[in-house]
């Protein structure tokens, strides 16, 4: 195990021991190793430096590395836990963990709160929701009148912003999500359950090969 880890750390800065990562997340050791296979291919796709930068993330998500998207940017920003400008393997596993079907609902709700709080003030303000709504309409080539947009915002804030201060705080968000559980749908990736079949890992064999040569 030690041999694998130190080789991996040289090529993959910030690489962490799969056993450690498995103990901190809902993933098993083999699932972490399978995630490593996925991570390797994404992190090498534009610059082979063992780290996932924004272009590589966009490439993996949209099959188009130049495609800019407000929401993908938010996800990238949250995955990049220490604001380094790239996602390392530890970030990758720990962030995907929140999307695991077995991850606690509370973690998922907290993640979405941070996701939508664009400027990180600790509140989801109406202006931020408007900005996201407009971005969504743009992306989907949907057109709504300005009035319709305001009506949708009014309606949303009427329900979510209980103290009517023009912004949604964390506890209001929790209550709102309890009443609208479908909002958490984006926070669960059923594909994470089958990860070892989707990305078979040959870690054991490659370690043996490296020792032999």
């Amino acid at each position: 195990m030690g041999c694998f880890s130190s080789k991996a750390r040289r090529k993959f800065p910030g690489h962490e021991d799969p056993v450690l990562l498995a103990s901190q997340t809902a993933f098993s050791v083999s699932e972490v190793e399978a995630l490593f296979e996925l991570y390797k291919s994404i992190s090498a796709s534009v610059i082979d430096d063992g780290l996932i930068n924004k272009e590589e993330f966009q490439l993996a998500l949209f099959k188009n590395r130049k495609r800019e998207n407000l929401f993908a940017n938010r996800i990238f920003y949250l995955f990049d836990v220490n604001r380094k400008g790239f996602i390392d393997f530890g970030d990758f596993v720990r962030s995907l963990n929140v999307f695991h079907p077995n991850a606690p609902q509370e973690d998922k709700i907290n993640f979405t709160f941070k996701l939508y709080d664009l400027d990180g003030t600790g509140y989801i303000e109406r202006q931020e929701v408007k900005q996201m709504l407009i971005a969504l309409l743009c992306e989907s080539e949907l057109k709504l009148t300005d009035d319709s947009i305001e009506i949708i915002l009014d309606k949303t804030f009427l329900e979510a912003d209980v103290d009517q201060d023009g912004k949604i705080n964390k506890s209001e968000w929790h209550n709102f999500v309890d009443r609208n559980p479908s909002l958490m749908k984006i926070m669960t990736l059923p594909y994470l359950r089958d990860i070892t079949t989707t990305f078979p890992s040959f870690v054991f064999h490659s370690e043996v090969d490296e020792i032999a040569t």
Partner: protein
């Protein structure tokens, strides 16, 4: 009495896999001819006094930027397909009824939610797909198609071979794919 196409957020999607047919009534595809269908919704404008409309976050959640399944599978392999439809919901229902007739599938429908069921059991049971219609405005809808039962490969073949070509000229945009209008 008006019937509404509004869906109760996207909750219904989670419920539908647990609760059988959700009170859907079968559409008798033998009786239907051409595009006229004996379902009687009436189009209503976006009426936000009703409790069951999409809220801002339901819409925002639709973004492909939030859809991390792209990390794991290609578009072809995704089980859910969404597209926007710049027309009335009764027009999309008629279209799916036509498709079902062509494929010799049974159709059940209730308030913007349809289930199409094949007749021949494939490897994993009968292929059935769910179609849900979400109203964004009275002439702009989001349609979601997903596999309900049966073999995934058969489902994907059906999407590629039958559904996409049949919808090609009228779909406004396929969510998650670059458009070529």
């Amino acid at each position: 009495m008006e019937s509404s196409w509004f869906r109760k957020g996207l909750d219904s999607r989670q419920v539908s896999t647990e609760v059988g047919d959700k009170g859907m009534s079968p559409v008798d595809t033998n009786v239907v001819s051409g595009t006229s269908v004996s379902i009687n919704p009436t189009e209503t404008k976006l009426d936000l006094t009703k409790p069951n409309n999409l809220n801002a976050f339901d819409l925002i959640s639709l973004s492909t930027g939030f859809d991390l399944s792209g990390l794991f599978v290609t578009n072809d392999q995704k089980e859910e397909v969404q597209f926007t439809w710049k027309n009335t919901s009764s027009a999309i229902i008629s279209k799916f009824v036509d498709i079902a007739m062509y494929l010799k599938f049974k159709v059940k429908e209730n308030q913007g939610f349809m289930r199409l069921e094949g007749c021949n059991a494939g490897r994993s049971g009968i292929l059935s797909i769910d179609v849900e219609i979400f109203e964004i405005s009275s002439s702009f809808h989001l349609v979601e198609v997903k596999k309900c039962g049966g073999d995934t490969t058969e489902y994907q073949k059906m999407l590629k071979r039958d559904l996409r070509p049949a919808l090609k000229e009228i779909v406004w945009a396929w969510q998650g794919e670059q458009q070529h209008h």
